[in-house]
Symmetry: C2
Subunit: 230 residues, 2 copies
DNA sequence: TAACGCATAATTGTCGACAATTATAGTTCA
DNA sequence: TGAACTATAATTGTCGACAATTATGCGTTA
């Protein structure tokens, strides 16, 4: 299963491959946020016809990475503070509920697996090399496991299939590669505990606080950046 | 603004029009749930080319009315009990949060407008003609106003642009045209009161209960239907 | 008879071209 | 000089055809 999106199947059609490539380019900023997309240009760049490219654009629109206006064209979404806030509030609602559902629906095996992942991350945390990478990857792994554990196809599709592309984009663009290491870790631990206790109400509450804290952390970093720029 | 979807702009391109037509056909059951979609057939039926039809199919997929498998084709989604439950749980999360945001962000004017709508519905409720229609329309109007009142583009898009097509489909397919008249009405009243008091926490709680009650109501009706069929 | 394999038919994915709409640049007129 | 209009260029939307993949039906064989 692909690391960056646990719901999608392997790209089989060329439109899928082009979609993945452009998606990466947008998330990592190789295609600038807010920039206009020229269909003929991109089609030439990726060596496909415009029809195929438009199919890829449709999928990019599905996960809110681009916006289209009829008879005008497509633009990459902007990364604004307002957008970040809206995204995290939506995450709070959806992942909170997913966490509640996970507490109700996760299998024993899944819970064991999740605990194993946590203890593995606790050792990986001490590594000096690539700490940031492990922390971000660890955070994503944790959230994906909870979401999938909800066993709710609607929630899984909305969060993993749509929201998380934007989440990764904001993380990349604002340089949030090493967020709140230790505190996030202990928060993860408590959430897993609540799930393990089958306490859906507490699990939801903790997940919502966890995401709200993450949001405030990013807001602070942005405020710092703004202060430095003055 | 169109009654059935307050976020979408008027259909300008032919693909838009075809999308709307097929959407209605699916929601109201003219195209059977679970049935396979033949691109050449539908294209002929709606007098457009396959490219245009595929553009429409992409939008249907965006609001989860059809599912596509690469190299195989599209199917209209099934209306299952499991799907209904998942949908309403997602609604509970998203609309609950939207309601909290509405309590925080709605303008005074919007609140006045919403109260006016409620009192208008209270009189319309006494009408003998088309009671069911007014009740369903009234319910949708209320929910749309709350969602738009959140002033959160992400939430608005997810709920109005995606989930509500499915909600209306389930309502049509299971014949839920006159749901819980009086009780739903008083629940609406209390939610508006909480929003008017700027009590986000209570507003979210009440909206979640309101949707959960609606879910249970539908579950009961389905159980009744199953009992009759035995 | 049932199951496997092959050839055919049908469907989806991709392509290039044309039509319709929008953006651009140049010109005219107040 | 600036604003509005026009003609041109560029972009998006739509179309029909071909290529690749999948489904179907028949014949063969164990």
């Amino acid at each position: 299963m692909p690391l960056d999106n646990p719901t999608k199947t392997l790209a089989v059609t060329t439109a899928d491959k082009v979609f993945e490539q452009i998606q990466h380019a947008i998330v990592e900023g190789d295609i600038l946020a807010g920039s206009k997309i020229s269909e003929p240009e991109l089609a030439k760049q990726y060596q496909v016809s415009r029809s195929t490219l438009r199919e890829a654009l449709n999928r990019l629109e599905k996960c809110h990475l681009i916006e289209r206006k009829p008879n005008v064209g497509s633009r990459v979404v902007e990364c604004s503070i307002k957008g970040l806030l809206e995204l995290y509030i939506t995450r709070e609602a959806l992942e909170g509920m997913a966490c509640r559902q996970a507490a109700e629906n996760m299998t024993g095996e899944e819970i064991v697996d999740m605990k194993a992942m946590l203890s593995q991350h606790s050792t990986a945390q001490d590594l000096q090399d690539g700490v940031a990478y492990y922390q971000e990857k660890g955070d994503l792994d944790f959230h994906y496991k909870v979401i999938l554990g909800s066993h709710n196809a609607q929630l899984i599709n909305l969060i993993c299939g749509q929201l998380y592309h934007l989440v990764r984009m904001y993380r990349c663009q604002f340089g949030m590669n090493s967020p709140r290491a230790s505190r996030a870790f202990s928060e993860h631990a408590r959430i897993i505990e609540a799930i393990s206790d089958r306490d859906g109400e507490l699990a939801e509450l903790l997940m919502r606080r966890h995401i709200a804290a993450s949001r405030k952390n990013i807001e602070n970093k942005i405020a710092e950046q703004n202060k430095l720029n003055q």
